[in-house]
Assembly symmetry: C2
Homo-oligomer: 243 residues x 2
């Protein structure tokens, strides 16, 4: 236990370590399947153990407790979403900023509809009694928003944003927050744009959540893809990516 963090990063050397890593991988894989089919709150270590063909207590050799497995699955899901987003964004030309933004949005929606339970773990109500360890989840958890901010910043630096820029934010506690974000990420975008970016960010996940969580009535919207495309266009305009 001297440096568990360090050893967790190293690739396994001995056969024992490799077997152990393989077992943990199996547990995460089975956990992911259970999570995908039944949801976060229904995730059971005992069920995972059964599928692994092992008695329940044996799982605790590899995973400290249920929360630990939840954290592994959280990181796993964040990374898969991040990969899907990166793939979609990079499939577009670097200069097509609006296209990249829309690709990001569509990738989020597609992944969420494909993996509703895992999406719920990431962006739904918190699991009672579980607090995600910021040190392990913040990096994978910020990939999507960083990607979006990157698109916005690149478009701004290239001078390719609509001149109808959002009104500046008056000096305030909020502008101080925005300043801090700009500094930390080395951004060029002005306050108003950054604040609108935050709205676009939350709006994107709001729309997706409504669809995934079934907040729209069962028969209110049948053309949900079209509705999403409309929303995506409006959001793109909000940050000046489209005219």
């Amino acid at each position: 236990m001297s440096d568990a963090a360090a050893e967790a990063e190293t690739t396994p050397r001995t056969p024992r370590e490799r077997a152990r890593a393989q077992t943990i991988e199996d547990i995460v894989r089975l956990g992911r399947e259970h999570l995908a089919t039944q949801g976060a709150a229904a995730l059971s270590l005992r069920a995972v153990a059964r599928d692994l063909g092992v008695v329940s207590s044996a799982v605790y050799r590899y995973v400290a407790n249920r929360d630990e497995l939840l954290t592994l699955l959280l990181v796993d899901a964040y990374d898969e979403l991040g990969d899907a987003v990166d793939l979609a964004v990079n499939a577009m030309p670097p200069k097509d900023h609006a296209g990249r933004f829309k690709a990001l949005g569509r990738a989020v929606r597609d992944w969420a509809l494909r993996e509703p339970a895992r999406y719920g773990l990431l962006f739904g109500s918190p699991v009672p009694g579980y607090q995600a360890p910021a040190g392990r989840t913040s990096t994978p958890g910020t990939r999507v928003i960083y990607s979006m901010i990157g698109i916005l910043d690149a478009a701004y630096r290239a001078g390719e944003l609509t001149t109808a820029a959002p009104a500046a934010v008056a000096p305030s506690a909020l502008s101080a927050d925005l300043e801090a974000i700009r500094d930390e990420l080395g951004l060029a975008v002005p306050d108003g744009l950054l604040a609108n970016g935050a709205l676009v960010w939350t709006s994107l996940f709001g729309t997706v959540s409504f669809e995934v969580f079934g907040q729209y009535g069962a028969d209110t919207f049948s053309a949900r893809g079209e509705l999403f495309e409309h929303h995506l266009a409006v959001l793109a305009k909000l940050v000046g990516l489209e005219a």
Copy 2:
């Protein structure tokens, strides 16, 4: 069981029925407290029974099962949120459409921050294995959106929306959806406005959810009230309620 639905609506007449209604009310009250402090997935009928000073099986005399209690609490929360929104909206002059919209938004945010777990039950990830009975939850569950649409429609009919109206929606499956909504609710607002209204609706809950569910980093935004006000202003502009 001949007409359970009918008898459920009538006010209790006999002392037995009154005692029974009182007990159910107590169960809902205790359930609400547990829900508020521990969250939906941690709601336990046995814990409620303990607090009620009764053995666990006795609760089943009054509530069919856990899902049934969840439904009662769902309706309870929807109604409380609806009441809070109505109160805030009606505190503004009927002609101050933008003010009424913002009051609605603030009421939603305030209630959500005051009751995070109950908000999570309404707008967070679905409880695994629980499907809300649409017949009992759709009416209380649509109060807020109907209120918002009402504000928008009133402003439109009064001709007090900014002329910079959103682009019309091309004839499509989406426009058919919007047409159906307009017909069913007897609205006057055109397609583009209605579609934007849907975005504003989901965006509002997206922003609130991010704040309530802790999706913002712990220290990314300190001035969350200001950020919300900024977003509210942008959303108001999106539907032409503000210039």
